[in-house]
Each structure stands twice: as C-alpha cells, then as structure tokens.
Amino acid sequence: MTTRSLTSVVAPAAAGTSALLVAANWYVRPERAIVWAPVAALVALMAIAWRRAGRSDPAGAPARTRGGVASGIAVAAVVLAVSLVSSLGRALGLVTAADPFARVVMAVVGVFLAVTGNAIPKALAPLTSLTRAARRQAFQRAIGWTWVLAGLGVAAAALLLPLDTATAVSAGLLVAAIAISAGRVVSCRAAREDAAGRLPS
C-alpha cells in the first residue's frame, strides 16, 4: 500500500472518528462547550482542507505539495483523535492518572517525523550545476538521516521509557535535531556564498 493510498484511508477515518469523539465529549461534559466548539471547528477545517488537497487542479499546487498537506492532516487527525479518546476516558473515569495516550501521541509524532525525514532526500530540485546538486544532495541526506533518527528515537522513548524520562529524552532529541539542521543550513549557505564569491579561474 502506498503512502498516498494509506493517507486517503487514515485521514477521513481519523477525522470522522474525531468528529464523533468531539460530539461524545460535548455530550459528557456540556459545561466545557467553550473547548469543544473550537475543536469541532478544527475538525471541520481539517475535513475541508483534506477535500481540497485531494482535488486535482491543473492550475493549483503540484501533486507532491497536495500529498504533503494530506499526510499532515492525517497525522494531525490521528493525534487529535487519540487526545479526544483520552479526554473522554478521563471524563468517564476509565483512564486513571497515568496517561497512556500521551505515549501514543508522542509515538505518533515520532513516527511522523521519521516518515517525513525519510522522504527528504527524494525531493529533487531542477539541475542547475553539478557542484550545487552535490551540495544539495549531501545537505538533504544529512537532514533526512537526522530527522529519521530523531523521530525513531522519540517513538522508541515514548514506548519504552517512563513518561517523565521519555518527555525529557524526546525534547532533547528534537532540540538536537533542530540544532543539527540549523547547523547544516548555515554551513550549506556559507559554502554557497564562498562558491559564488570565488573568482573564475
């Protein structure tokens, strides 16, 4: 099953489940309508955005961008559905203090980061020069590996470590991944300016 066909199943299923869960939460705790109304609006917005992303428009965004939007919506809908299940469980007294849903959300975010990082080296820009293409390739591979490892680390920490430790480890991994990415951007930019400033031999 391809990522696109998986997204086309997961996104509407998660958005539909979220809509049902918002209604259930609202029914169980009507005094918190001020919270549920914006969440319901968010689910509606997600559904509209997913419909628009799925529509092919020759004058609109390219298919890859639309695919990225659709997969982003799918992940957001899954995270929202898990949070709403957690909220409903707590309201019904089914979930005690230890929150297993926080782990699931963290793991989903980790997997999303890993999947996104995995695809980074595949996105090619039009070829202008071999030197520039080589630099871009090295940059994309480094960023891709960084985010795949960070995402897998976050997912593993969420599933294996105690929740407090997992949160700290995940935060550390994300900060490290952001720092490495920023460092690579700066060094790549410096190399480009260096090449541009060099006199032709």
Partner: protein, 109 residues
C-alpha cells in the same frame, strides 16, 4: 519495494549508487568506472531508474544521473553492501577451498 530489492541485488548497481552518493555524475563518467559495455550499463541505469533510486536529467548533450534514495533505501543499500561483501567473501573462500588440490594432487570439482 520489490523493484528496490531487485535493483540492490546486483553489485554493479550498488556500486553505481555508491558513486552517486558522493555527487551526481554523467553517464560517461559512470560507464568509465566499470569494465562493462555501455549497453549493459544502460540496462543497469534503467533498472535503477525503474526502482526510483536514481534520476536522469539531460544537460546539453550529456545525461546526468543523480541519487533519488529515501533514508530507508539508503540504509538498505548499506545493508545490502555489507551482506553482499560478506557473502561474496564467504563464496570466494569456499571456491578457493574447492579448487585447492587434495593430498594425491587432484583438484576437487
């Protein structure tokens, strides 16, 4: 995914991908790096392109090949390379052992 495994199964194609890891290269550069005919190399390029591991772009009169591998495919390439060299070494030592003359001077088949 089957196409990716098929593409990575061949040592020449793995070597092409390893060369492209360093930088994009022209078809001529890549062909010169291997002791095989250009049509054979073209067939290898076609398999790699079919698997979505490389992309060809025409720049003037030359064709430039560049890597189009995801991180997972990159990791698979590393794994296939390690496994391939280990199995290759084991196979060649087995062949050498078979070819070694026995006590009475005969070479076993």
């Amino acid at each position: 995914m089957n196409r990716v495994f098929k593409a990575l199964a061949d040592p020449t194609r793995r070597r092409v991908l390893q060369l492209l890891r360093a930088r994009p290269r022209t078809a001529g550069e890549l062909a010169d790096a291997f002791p095989v005919s250009k049509p054979t190399m073209s067939a290898h390029f076609a398999v790699l392109q079919d698997a979505g591991l490389i992309e060809a772009e025409r720049a003037g009169r030359t064709i430039v090949y560049r890597l189009k591998m995801s991180v997972l495919e990159d990791a698979l390439l590393g794994f296939a390379g390690t496994l391939g060299s280990t199995l290759g070494a084991a196979g060649s030592s087995r062949r050498a052992r078979r070819a070694r003359p026995s006590v009475n001077g005969e070479v076993s088949a």
